[in-house]
């Protein structure tokens, strides 16, 4: 038939086009597709920091399993290996020797860096006070350490600077190496060169780290050492590996089960393969559609999209099972197509709500599902009958089919039980305080044990409280620094009160050019300084000429250049500066992490004069939870919108609101009971459960429509069997995933597994009473 040829040619052309688009498509694994499209400036910065900021590059390492001395030696050995590895930008284990360059840098540039420098600082009067203090210091127990510094730095700028830069509380040490509170583990902090979202690069860095540790273990007495890692990159790598592993394991198992089952029924490998044609075509077109519309395809879209169009596997089952020798595939399709078409339209309605989402990731999933399901349906309708053998029919199933239909007919007796279940589920829903988990952590597939390890290492390392940060935005790095200085001045007033205990600022590491210039200009000329220091030293035991190194250092600073970002070379200060002063899309941001925030209201008041679009106080936890909360609430309301669209569609298609309602009741009931069951099992609902519910509605609508339309005619035996088979495959496929240790997979798996089974039971129990055949 010419029409068949056109259908097959068109199908092949579309597949070729899809393949072409997919070949050129960009695939990303970047989580930010699942963050808002039009965020506030603060949210954007937060998202960027989570993606590629220094926070995203940190790896916290714990080495345990030996006495403290051995741990310290192992830490030194591991750090030495990692410092030689280009994949790591910085390796900190507490070893003070690593700070030598920083000390030298601070010493050399003390008169540009020190906030104490002004015109009065080097007056004879101030110097006199400084010399008295120096003399005291020389007599103190610290005298021996301070002695070499005094002739070059009588006003103690280096000590002042080091105190100011010390930041958060340092971890405990053993032999100078960072250890946990009870010295049972040595601690290291690494920073990778690659951004946190670059999972491949993170995986490589982790491999390097493990190899280095294996080398350390080969040394005598080190074999029993254990390694524990945490950090955003570690989580990303572990998550991807776990999802890959579980998805592969469970889908292989499910495939074996389902293929065996279908092969038993179809008795033909060729037919089995043909059954995959609609869903495979749908996936290809879905990916291509997303790539064309969004410019890139997210890894999550691929993974879950394929799951979402799992419904389309059922289309082939409906066709194959219901085809009987008398009418052939084409004739059967003509009969079941109106039902199938309405089922497809229902699913598309449900998924189309996701297209409206402000989150690119969710919108991608919506588009993928719509394009995929529509394609699968069209392929089932127009291509599959051509590919099937002309005399195709599955024979010898009549006795089983009749029994299944009889069973469905008896499902009505379950109604009281189902009614009670629905009431119980509603009760669970109403009485449960926390139905939805609004913490970003609930999205995280990271295990509780890993999260606890992360918290423990962060506590032990005294890692700064990164929850509250002030962000200042400007057009240039120097303007950002100047703004950070103004913020710092406002914060200084709040430090030491009950508001905050301290803060870090990039301007402490690199003062703005204006500030450096002001300091440099306030330094006295050599002759004047020499006179003043001599005057100040009069009457003290200091010998004449002692402070020549000081005079020389001031002279050099006066004649020398100002500091720039590039001046810091490979110092730790430079690395820190890069994390606190960042450039994003033509703007520069100075980031000031606060510690010990006790009074947010007063903090906001302290910043009030600066608090506008350029300077914001960011509560990162509140902000990320808000992002996720918005995401989840939006998804819920969009799902409700989808539900309304489905009701309207059914009412229009059936030209009877009453019939439409009859179709909707089993769907609503199965979603309600599934939700109640999940809550009763102690789960808190997340985004992924919601995605699972959409699929339950999509799959379930087909069941209900078939019961509504087809079980009343002479073909009802075969239809019943096709429904049972489609249902069993869905329950096996998703039920397996429900056993995954990855929360994302298990949420979708358990929701769809339970929901699909309940949908069929509800559909059968609430089906219109069949006429006698």
């Amino acid at each position: 038939m010419i029409r068949d040829r056109i259908a097959v040619a068109l199908w092949l052309a579309v597949l070729a086009a899809a393949a072409f688009v997919i070949a050129g498509a960009r695939f990303s694994t970047d989580l930010s597709a699942f963050l808002p499209k039009q965020p506030t400036a603060a949210q954007q910065l937060l998202v960027d920091e989570l993606r590629e900021g220094v926070v995203s590059k940190l790896i916290l390492v714990s080495v345990a399993g030996a006495p403290p001395d051995t741990l310290a030696a192992a830490s030194r050995s591991l750090a030495a290996r990692l410092r030689a590895d280009r994949r790591f930008v910085s390796v900190d284990n507490g070893d003070a020797a690593q700070l030598e360059r920083d000390r030298a840098f601070v010493f050399e540039h003390r008169y540009l860096l020190s906030p104490a420098i002004d015109a009065a600082h080097f007056s004879a009067k101030s110097l006199r006070v400084a010399l008295a203090e120096s003399l005291e210091l020389l007599g103190s127990p610290a005298g021996m350490m301070a002695k070499p510094l005094i002739p070059a730095d009588p006003t103690g700028e280096v000590l002042r600077l080091i105190d100011g830069m010390a930041g958060a509380a340092a971890p405990a040490t053993h032999e100078g190496i960072w250890v946990g509170p009870d010295a049972k583990e040595a601690l290291l902090v690494l920073q990778t060169r690659a951004a946190g979202f670059d999972i491949d690069a993170q995986e490589e860095a982790l491999a390097g780290l493990r190899a280095a540790f294996a080398d350390v273990q080969r040394a005598p007495g080190m074999a029993a050492l254990t390694l524990a890692l945490t950090g955003p990159g570690v989580f990303a790598v572990q998550t991807r590996a776990a999802i890959k592993r579980d998805a592969a394991r469970f889908s292989t198992l499910a495939t074996i089960f389902i293929a065996t089952l279908l092969l038993t029924v179809f008795r033909s490998p060729r037919v089995l393969l043909l059954g995959l044609v609609p869903v495979a075509s749908g996936a290809a077109v879905g990916v291509a559609a997303v790539a064309l519309h969004f410019g890139e395809v997210h890894g999550i879209t691929l993974g879950f999209g394929a799951t979402l169009i799992g419904e389309s596997v059922d289309y082939a089952i409906y066709l194959f099972m219901q085809t009987d020798p008398r009418r052939g595939a084409a004739g059967t399709l003509a009969r079941i197509w109106p039902t199938l078409r309405l089922g497809v339209a229902t699913s598309i309605c449900g998924f189309s709500a996701m297209l409206l989402s402000g989150f690119p990731g969710l919108a991608q999933l919506g588009l993928f599902s719509i394009a995929g399901i529509a394609t699968a349906a069209l392929v089932t309708r127009f291509v599959l009958p051509v590919l099937l053998p002309p005399d195709f029919a599955i024979t010898g199933i009549e006795p089983v089919a009749a029994r299944v239909r009889a069973a469905f007919a008896r499902a009505r007796v379950l109604l009281p039980v189902l009614g009670l279940a629905a009431i119980a589920a509603a009760a669970v829903w109403i009485t449960r305080d926390q139905r939805w988990s609004d913490e970003l952590a609930s999205l995280s597939p990271v295990s509780i044990a890993q999260q606890q390890l992360d918290q423990r290492l962060r506590d032990a390392l005294g890692a700064a409280d990164v929850r509250h940060v002030v962000v200042a935005r400007a057009a240039s790095s120097d303007q950002a620094l100047a703004l950070a200085e103004r913020v710092g001045a406002a914060l200084d007033a709040a430090v030491g009160t009950e508001v905050i205990s301290g803060y870090e600022s990039p301007a402490r590491i690199l003062p703005s050019a204006a500030t450096q210039m002001r300091r440099r200009d306030s330094l006295p000329e050599t002759a004047a300084l020499r006179t003043r220091i001599a005057e100040a030293a009069r009457g003290t035991p200091f010998r004449a000429g002692t402070f020549e190194p000081f005079v020389e250092a001031v002279r050099q600073t006066r004649a020398g250049p100002l500091l720039e970002r590039e001046s810091f070379g490979g110092t730790k200060l430079g690395i820190r500066l890069d994390s606190l002063l960042v450039q994003r899309d033509h703007a520069w941001y100075a980031i000031l992490p606060l510690s010990g925030v006790k009074d947010v209201a007063n903090l906001k008041r302290a910043l009030a004069s600066l608090y506008d679009a350029q300077v914001v106080l960011l509560d990162t936890k509140a902000e990320t939870d808000a992002i996720y909360g918005t995401y989840r609430r939006e998804a819920v309301s969009l799902s409700l919108l989808g539900a309304v669209a489905i009701v309207v569609l059914l009412a229009a298609a059936m030209r009877s609101p009453r019939r439409a309602l009859k179709v909707c009741i089993p769907l609503a009931a199965s979603v309600l009971v599934t939700t109640g069951l999940l809550l009763a099992l102690g789960q808190t609902l997340t985004m992924f459960h919601l995605v699972g519910m959409l699929l339950v509605v999509a799959v379930g609508s087909n069941y209900v429509l078939f019961f509504d339309r087809s079980l009343t005619d002479e073909w009802s035996d075969r239809t019943s069997l096709s429904l049972a088979l489609a249902n069993v495959t869905t329950v096996i496929g998703f039920g397996m995933l429900g056993f995954s240790s990855v929360p994302v997979l298990s949420a979708i798996g358990s929701t769809v597994g339970i929901g699909a089974a309940l949908s069929l039971i509800f559909a059968a129990a609430l089906a219109p009473r069949p006429r006698a055949v």
Partner: protein, 202 residues
Amino acid sequence: MTSGSRRAAFAAIVAALLAAHGGAFGDESGAGPWDLGQLMRELSSVHTARARFTEKRYLKMLDRPIESSGTLAFEAPARLEKLTLLPKRELLRVEQDKVTLEIGAQPKRRTLSLSDHPQLRAFVESIRATLAGDQAALERFYQVDLSGSAERWRLKLQPSDMKTKSLVREIRITGRHSEIIGVEVDQADGDRSVMSMVPDDS
């Protein structure tokens, strides 16, 4: 002096008397010629000690010495506390690896780790290991030379490690039995300090 160190001193006197009559008692162990091992054993029998000190520091950059005084306390095996009372209150405390410094009227506390500052550690061990009678620790950092008698001994310590050598040339500790009575430090740059101690029974 506490009763413990008094007993130790008594034991030392007995030992010294026995040593004087060594010939008469044959080669009984512990009664041989007086040596470093014996001094260390004697010192290690002291568990707590307190003393008053006066210290003079002669620095090249100053034309007269800085004087200070206060108390010293030791608790075996690894706690040493130097409390300067004049001219200003200052506290230096060493516990195992941890050094605490309190300087100023509103004491600003600093802590640091000895292992981060090897030179400081060598310096601390000169006194602490001597007080503890820990010969191994002492010899880890210094070449040790003992002269004199149990009545009046002198330990000359010369750093064995280059880094410490760049800071300290020689430390001389003088004592009587299990009691330290003076510590003199010659620094590499020519500065030096002289500390003398008397037992504090208060």
